[in-house]
């Protein structure tokens, strides 16, 4: 057993490295997704690519980050001063806008100079090319979604590989912004390495290696303890995605959760095959969603690391929407399917421990991407945002309204900041009253947000829970499903959940996001 005092002290040190990296990245980045919406993660890894500590950033990166680092470790030979870059969803990535930077750090030369581990950060870039501005398209294969970057070196021995840099920037819509973001990512890794080197000087590299191992064992012990407390058994649940945006056919995601002692097997056999549309999730996303659920059950203030994943066995049949095969389109899998995966795992676990599991939350991120040529500012623009909704009612109280749930927690862009930068105007941003499901406790309400366009633009919407509502639990009513509408010349037109439209000056787009499910039947008194 490890030293309980050292664990606590080192946990703070490792997490503080990841947090400091995050502050640098956020403060100096250009993408709204990074700077305002905090759609990024920073973490520290050991020499084999196992996650040691991750700052509390974005859950969807939880399980996926280690796979990116491992893909780089497998594909590349590192030397001091190198930085690898990757976004390929089929080699450890999730979707193309998420670019991960991986930097190795080494023991001081006087103590053998061996590879000690990695620091890495992943950030959502506002555009990585592809068929639509914002790179979150209604695509049918991954090649339409933007530039695919397999694990490659962006920096060799401290020198930026200028050819790679230029090639990437030539393929994106807003190269100056991208360059700023890439620099911010590199700066984040630099400070991470500097801090890890400081710790090695202070404690010695051998001790730091031991501490990293101890952190992972500690995460594993905690997770095993948690699972052991859950009643053994087999719990099944299934739910649906509305459609894949190409056809209107729903997509079933089925899960069985088998708890046996201090281990759990999550099996997605029975889930539908991958689709043409971009709702396919690659394996890292499914892993992230599952790890997220168990991380929540563990309670607050616990390190998220690879140890937490060890007692969790994931079966995700290849070729399904939870483990898509190349070259399936995946842009929406990260943002939409990940939410439904959480919904089904929670639905299954509600049978095992109903007192801890809330009803379904909005189950979508309501992705809206707007792009085009800004005539006033004489430049191209791309804007991307997600909209919060209702949280599911709790076994002990109402759900929160107008908030992001589960796999995302990104901030909104202030209306005043947005209108300074883009040729559209927000007309309404209010709570969608009465949209939460009824029950002994009501689900949280969704949001109404409308945009008035001041000139021509392309809009891509990727949203879910427009047909199938967020479920209630213990007799609670489902939340209201969301809706998307376009008002043109006084006429109101319903839009599908996933669509790409061209809008004119004066058009108003209105998004109503889903409410959370209710808990308990209304007649019962809890």
């Amino acid at each position: 057993m490890d030293d309980p005092i050292r664990i606590e002290i080192m946990k703070h040190l490792f997490v503080s490295v990841a947090e400091e990296m995050g502050v640098r990245l956020q403060r100096s980045a250009y993408s709204p997704n990074i700077k305002e919406r905090r759609d990024f993660s920073c973490a520290v890894f050991d020499a084999s690519g196992q996650l040691v500590a991750q700052a509390a950033h974005i859950p969807v990166h939880l399980g996926a980050m280690p796979l990116s680092v491992q893909a780089c470790v497998q594909a590349l030979t590192f030397a001091p001063g190198d930085v690898a870059m990757v976004n390929d969803p089929y080699q450890g990535g999730t979707h193309l806008p998420d670019i991960t930077m991986v930097s190795p750090f080494y023991a001081p030369r006087e103590s053998n100079g061996r590879l000690m581990g990695f620091v890495a950060n992943r950030a959502h870039h506002a555009d990585v090319g592809g068929m639509s501005a914002g790179s979150m398209p209604l695509s049918e294969e991954i090649f339409q979604e933007g530039m695919i970057i397999p694990p490659i070196k962006l920096v060799c021995s401290g020198e930026i590989h200028q050819d790679v840099w230029n090639l990437f920037l030539a393929n994106v819509r807003t190269p100056r912004e991208r360059a700023g973001d890439l620099h911010a990512q590199l700066a984040a890794n630099r400070i991470g390495i500097e801090r890890m080197q400081g710790f090695m000087q202070r404690y010695g590299s051998v001790q730091i290696s031991r501490d990293m191992d101890a952190m992972i064992d500690y995460g594993e012990r905690m997770t095993r303890q948690l699972i052991a407390e859950l009643p053994d058994g087999l719990y099944r649940f299934e739910d649906r995605l509305d459609d894949d945006g190409i056809t209107t056919e729903p997509v079933t995601i089925a899960v069985s959760v088998a708890i046996a002692g201090d281990e759990v097997t999550i099996d997605f056999t029975g889930t539908d095959s991958q689709r043409t549309g971009s709702i396919n999730a690659v394996y890292p996303i499914t892993l992230s969603a599952v790890v997220y659920v168990f991380r929540c059950l563990l309670g607050l203030d616990i390190p998220a690391n690879s140890g937490c994943m060890k007692p969790i066995h994931l079966i995700a049949p290849e070729g399904t929407v939870v483990n898509a095969r190349f070259p399936a389109a995946v842009a929406g899998g990260n943002v939409e399917t990940s939410q439904r995966i959480v919904d089904v795992v929670l639905g299954a676990l509600a049978q095992a421990c109903h007192e801890r599991i809330p009803a379904a939350s909005q189950g979508t991120m309501n992705n809206v991407a707007i792009g085009g040529w800004d005539r006033g500012r004489q430049q191209p623009f791309t804007y991307y945002e997600t909209i919060g909704g209702g949280m599911g009612a709790r076994p002990t109280g109402n759900g929160a309204s107008a908030i992001h749930s589960h796999m995302t927690n990104t901030l909104n862009t202030p209306v005043e900041a947005l209108e300074y930068a883009y040729p559209f105007r927000v007309r309404q941003y209010t709570v969608r009253e009465g949209s939460g499901g009824q029950g002994s406790f009501a689900g949280g309400d969704g949001i109404c947000r409308s945009y008035e366009f001041l000139q021509q633009a392309h809009v891509t919407i990727l949203s879910e829970r427009r047909s199938y509502s967020p479920y209630g639990l213990a007799g609670g009513q489902p939340g209201h499903s969301g809706r998307n509408q376009l008002q043109r010349s006084g006429e109101l037109q319903e839009l599908p959940g996933k669509c790409r439209i061209d809008v004119q000056s004066g058009d108003i787009l209105r998004i109503e996001t889903p409410g959370g499910g209710g808990y308990g039947s209304q007649s019962e008194n809890y």
Partner: protein
């Protein structure tokens, strides 16, 4: 002239009285009366001899408590049509990422008191939809029906075009409401943060104003000032109606007081360390007080400048326990004052940091509060022993298991402190090795030297007035008012042009300080611009000088490790801080003692140092005189705090009777 500093804290209300005639500084405490804080204040004041001319500077938790306990006035919000739920939606994020069942946050204003008015202005300050004044009459009716007392008005882009807010504010004031219009308080972009600040101001100001009026009426001081959260004082006449500006006044007083005594002792670059029972405040002071425009209180953003104080939920009362992974955790749960640590003998069953210090011998069980409150050593040992059995801690050759656990608890809490201090120094590009650690707060003396050592801080200063430092800070604070205006213009603007933009704010600042009776000579105006690279969203403030652009690049490099010399920049805000120098009280200087330091020795006892036990000299702090040198390891027992001086440290008493401790490696 008599000057009185008053600081209302949760447990005690502190008074510091300085008399010009004899230069004496005297301080005392009264138990606070949280239900009606003025009772303790007025009672305390009756014990101070009345003189003709009294200047009172007051720090107060009245506004803070009104906010945190949701006991502010009945407030309503008026927004642009389409944005009534701005406060509820906030930034649409949840506070705890991994909590499946978070408690929904109750906003300050219930939905039935959130109103919309038809009006809209765009980002260039152009009216897109004119104001519909007829709607305001309906709102007034509804406000009166709901017995609303105060109103916050926040329209989009009002910092560019304030007329709509102005007109609505006028109407509401005419019928007797207390009104805050966002453009008056902070004409600054980002609507949620501005609205939140404006709302909080309307919510707390009527409560604070009533309180201040009551104190003023009873006391009749010649001058009456309040300490703001930015560390500067403001006359009550001007502070009236701006309660949000004093919401963090208590902690600000501590930093200002620490800066004052450190300056007298000869030190300028500081880290202040205020370790109390449940939490610890740390902050950085260089040649100026550092402020932030991004504070939050009780989860709500406040965009007026406040001293940049970083708080962590660990203190002397933090509870130690074993988590499910077998790790030793300390805090954030605290035993508080009741039942308090196990050693208080009031029924506390969970060992705390204080209990660990008792077991280690660093906090003598018979020296607490001058020995008036004996600590239960046996109980502390017993409970730490239980924790040791629960954890897989091994006895070493020198320490038994309870000692090993107690030492571990102290190491863990020191790691928390180290992390907090790194956030405000190293992570912001300041080297902790250039700083002096100024410790105050009851629990700080036991940890300051070890924490300083971990951060390579060469020196610790502990004031004999540690317990009333905040009240002393009230007396030494300069007059200080902040102004801001959003510009949002391209950064290729000339310095002269920016000066033109700054001018009205400068004039306003000088005018406001003159109204407080300050001479023009004593007024200094600091001008800053908030800048960012075009496309970023976080600004850095740099001085408004002809080379502001170069300064910005350099600051960005220092803060974030990179800069972009060729990139375009934006000037987001212009900030003006008007400072009126106030002569601080002159503290008495003590001559070197003739006595031997040995006369201050109390006893010699075993203490656990860095993993081994030694017989350590204990001193009576009150008997140590100027010039005395105490070599570590040593324990110095004072009335309200105990100092642990490490084995390689050397404590010297300076002419103000501060302990100045040179920290060894």
């Amino acid at each position: 002239m008599q000057r009185i500093g008053i600081d209302i804290g949760g447990t005690f209300t502190d008074f510091v009285v300085h008399d010009d005639t004899d230069g004496r500084v005297r301080s005392f405490k009264r138990l606070s009366t949280p239900a009606s804080p003025e009772i303790a204040v007025l009672e305390g004041l009756t014990t101070i001899p009345v003189v003709d001319s009294r200047v009172v500077v007051h720090g107060s938790t009245v506004a803070t408590n009104a906010l945190l306990e949701r006991k502010g006035s009945a407030t309503a919000l008026v927004t642009t049509r389409g944005f009534r739920d701005m406060l509820l939606i906030g930034r649409q994020t949840r506070e705890q990422l991994y909590n499946l069942v978070p408690e929904p946050i109750i906003p300050l204003i219930p939905p039935e008191r959130c109103f919309e008015v038809t009006e809209r202005v765009d980002y260039q300050g152009t009216v897109v939809t004119p104001l519909d004044l007829t709607e305001v009459d309906h709102i007034i009716q509804s406000l009166q029906d709901q017995h609303v007392e105060s109103v916050a008005i926040s329209f989009l882009f009002s910092f560019l075009f304030p007329d709509h807010e102005r007109v609505v504010a006028g109407r509401l004031r005419d019928v007797g409401f207390f009104v805050t219009a966002s453009h008056e308080l902070i004409p600054e972009f980002r609507e949620y943060e501005r609205t939140s600040t404006t709302t909080i101001n309307s919510y707390v100001s009527p409560v604070l104003d009533r309180y201040l009026a009551q104190v003023q009426q009873t006391m009749q001081p010649a001058e009456f000032h309040i300490l703001q959260s930015n560390g500067g004082r403001l006359s009550v006449e001007q502070a009236r109606g701006q309660g949000v500006r004093s919401i963090l006044s208590g902690p600000a007083g501590g930093v200002v007081g620490a800066r004052y005594i450190a300056k007298l002792a000869g030190y300028e670059n500081l880290m202040t360390f205020d370790m109390g029972g449940t939490s610890t405040d740390v902050s950085l002071v260089t040649d100026h007080l550092h402020v932030t425009n991004e504070a939050t209180v009780g989860g709500l953003p406040i965009r007026v400048p406040v001293l940049d104080i970083h708080t962590v939920g660990s203190g002397g009362g933090s509870i130690a326990y074993r988590d499910t992974g077998g790790g030793l955790r300390v805090g954030p749960q605290s035993a508080g004052a009741d039942p308090g640590p196990v050693c208080y003998g009031r029924g506390g069953q969970q060992p705390t940091v204080t209990d660990a210090n008792v077991l280690l011998g660093r906090l003598p069980h018979d020296g607490f509060l001058n020995g008036t409150m004996p600590l239960d050593y046996t109980q502390a040992v017993e409970h730490l022993n239980l924790l040791a059995n629960n954890l897989s801690v091994c006895a070493s050759t020198t320490l038994d298991r309870p000692q090993a656990v107690a030492f571990g608890i102290v190491q863990v809490v020191n790691a928390h402190m180290e992390r907090a201090m790194r956030v405000i120094s190293v992570e912001r590009g300041y080297d902790s090795r250039d700083c002096t650690l100024v410790s105050f707060g009851g629990a700080g003396g036991l940890h300051a030297c070890d924490v300083a050592r971990q951060l390579c801080i060469p020196r610790v200063v502990i004031s004999p007035k540690a317990a009333t430092l905040s009240a002393l800070g009230m007396l030494s604070a300069d007059a200080h008012i902040d102004y801001v205006q959003t510009l949002m213009i391209e950064g290729d603007v000339s310095f002269e042009e920016l000066e033109k933009h700054a001018h009205p704010l400068v004039a306003q600042g000088v005018h406001d300080l003159r109204r407080q009776g300050l001479d023009a000579d004593s007024i200094e105006v600091v001008r800053e611009v908030d800048m960012r690279y075009r496309g970023q969203s976080f600004e850095l403030s740099v001085s408004l000088t002809p080379d502001f652009r170069a300064q910005f690049d350099a600051f960005h490099e220092r803060r974030y490790g990179l800069c972009h010399h060729d990139a375009q920049v934006e000037i987001v805000n212009i900030r003006v801080r008007a400072i009126g120098a106030v002569a601080p009280p002159v503290l008495p200087v003590h001559h070197a003692a003739h006595s031997d330091v040995k006369e201050a020795i109390w006893c010699r006892r075993p203490v656990v140092l860095q993993g081994q036990i030694e017989e350590v000299m204990h001193y009576h702090g009150s008997r140590l005189q100027t010039g005395h040198r105490v070599e570590g390891p040593a324990i110095i027992v004072q009335e309200d705090t105990t100092l642990y001086v490490g084995a390689t440290d050397l404590a010297v008493v300076d002419q103000y009777r501060n302990f100045v401790i040179e920290v060894g490696v």
